[in-house]
Amino acid sequence: MRSERQVTRRHLLGALAATGAAALWPAGGAAQPRAVSTRAIPASGEAVPAVGLGTWITFNVGNDPVARDACADVMRAFFAAGGRLIDSSPMYGSSQAVVGYGLRKLGALARVFAADKVWIGSGSRGPAQIEASRAAWGVPRFDLVQVHNLLAWEAHLPTLFAMKAQGSLRYVGITTSEGRRHEEFERIMRSQPLDFVQLTYNILDREAERRLLPLARERGMAVIVNRPFREGALIRKLERHPLPGWAAEIGCRTWAQVALKFILAHPAVTCAIPATTRADHAAENVAAAAEPLPDAALRARTIADVEKL
């Protein structure tokens, strides 16, 4: 049931002009994207680019003006490549404020698909935390708020559903990472009308394939994939080895592209959110969503080859 389409440069430029974000695009034609692959959010049919931007560690740079500008450069490259979804959390130190700094600097408040989390043990303090997060981003409202690692989800989900009903939030989700609490995660997916779920899935961490990803398709939930590179450790390990010959068959020039295409080829996946400190990597990641993606046979071969390394 995956809905996927290629957005042409003309479509993108039109959309950007409508949001006033065209200024983000460098004047040079070489930096302009040819196409960006999108996926539909099952709950609404809205299309989002299949590669987003994570902010765990990489955007937690405090008040360092040099590092904040470097993060804004990453965001500029990400947006210019066609990316939209940025994910953060109050748990990530200064990341939310740094995202907000970048959005204001780039004039990209209307461009971003703002995905954040609520992460507090007290349900009654959830709304205040969400409001503080929104203020840090500087957006009029969040597109998506997720309950971070299921913390106090019983208390937070009613708040989020109420916000959605009032129009102060567009989508509601839950998150987990590194395969934790999958049984409870599954129970919540079965019992709650969630729009999004966020979980860990990559070439080596495939626990989600067993139950959660099929369930997300069945229940019509969008899936955001975190830790696609195992916080970079997977790519650092793979880069010690030459890229296999079959990588060229799916248009990959780097191991990072191989890892992302593997994830995005799963029919339940809506968006992967790699984090990076490099602008060129941000653009390269967004480009990895473009066709062709590996078929089932090549995905199996990818697993076999990577597990041997």
């Binding site: 990489t58 740079v61 360092d64 590092a67 609490r181 400190t277």
Partner: protein, 233 residues
């Protein structure tokens, strides 16, 4: 925290090593020239614990308390808190240590008179000198920029190691004053370990040395039947 056994140290690291060390660069720039005062305080403390007039125990405790308070406010609250939401709790711990040192100063508990010339005393002097002179140089020796230097009285790690040195050099063991520094050795060591820093063993090593020598000193003190009131200096 559910499924706590599935977490590793690196799961708790909120920032990159680059951000962590760059913070010291910004901090040093922000507090300049407070480093000069901190080093002067350090030199004064070293002189006083080696040899000094009556009342030096009170003076040392007050100066140490000033260092802990400054680190709590200037570094932990105003800088580290921007990248680590736990820093405010660490700052509270540092403030508690400062308070305990001030109480020790008021009561005249910290004494350096009549100290037995044992391994604890020698190690205490060495540890303090290390914290004042050598520990700040570890970063530059590991090719980190000199501007990111961590100094006694301004940065937490050398302040904590220096305090362990002072407490080891004191006449008797002050377990109450040792708790917070030892806890910070665990926190600081774990942070550096998670960042895979080459000098990650420094803080745990200082903690192990301080704990072992304090335990030996405590036992020797009891064996001598020296449970007498500490003479006020």
């Amino acid at each position: 925290m559910s499924e706590w056994w599935t977490y590793s140290l690196s799961d708790f690291l909120l920032f990159s090593p680059r951000t962590y060390y760059r913070l010291f660069e910004l901090y040093n720039d922000d507090i300049w020239p407070a480093q000069v005062a901190a080093l002067a305080l350090g030199a004064a403390i070293l002189a006083l614990i080696v040899r000094g007039p009556r009342g030096r125990g009170r003076a040392v405790a007050v100066m140490l308390a000033a260092c802990w308070l400054f680190v709590a406010w200037a570094y932990l609250l105003r800088h580290y808190d921007t990248i680590n939401w736990a820093a405010r709790y660490f700052a509270a711990g540092f403030a508690i240590e400062a308070l305990l040192l001030l109480v020790a100063a008021a009561r005249g508990n910290l004494s350096f008179r009549g100290v037995v010339r044992d391994a604890a005393r020698s190690t205490g002097f060495a540890l303090f000198a290390f914290a004042l002179v050598l520990q700040p140089l570890i970063g530059p020796l590991l090719a980190r920029p000199f501007a990111q230097i961590e100094l006694f009285g301004a940065a937490p790690d050398p302040t904590v190691v220096g305090t362990l040195g002072v407490l080891l050099a004191a006449r008797r063991v002050h377990w109450t004053l040792l708790v917070v520094p030892l806890l910070w050795c665990a926190v600081g060591g774990a942070t550096l370990w998670a960042m895979q820093a080459p000098d990650a063993a420094v803080m745990p090593a200082a903690a192990v040395a301080a704990t072992a020598l304090s335990a030996l000193k405590s036992r020797a003190f009891r064996n001598r039947g020296a449970r007498v009131a500490t003479p006020h200096e």
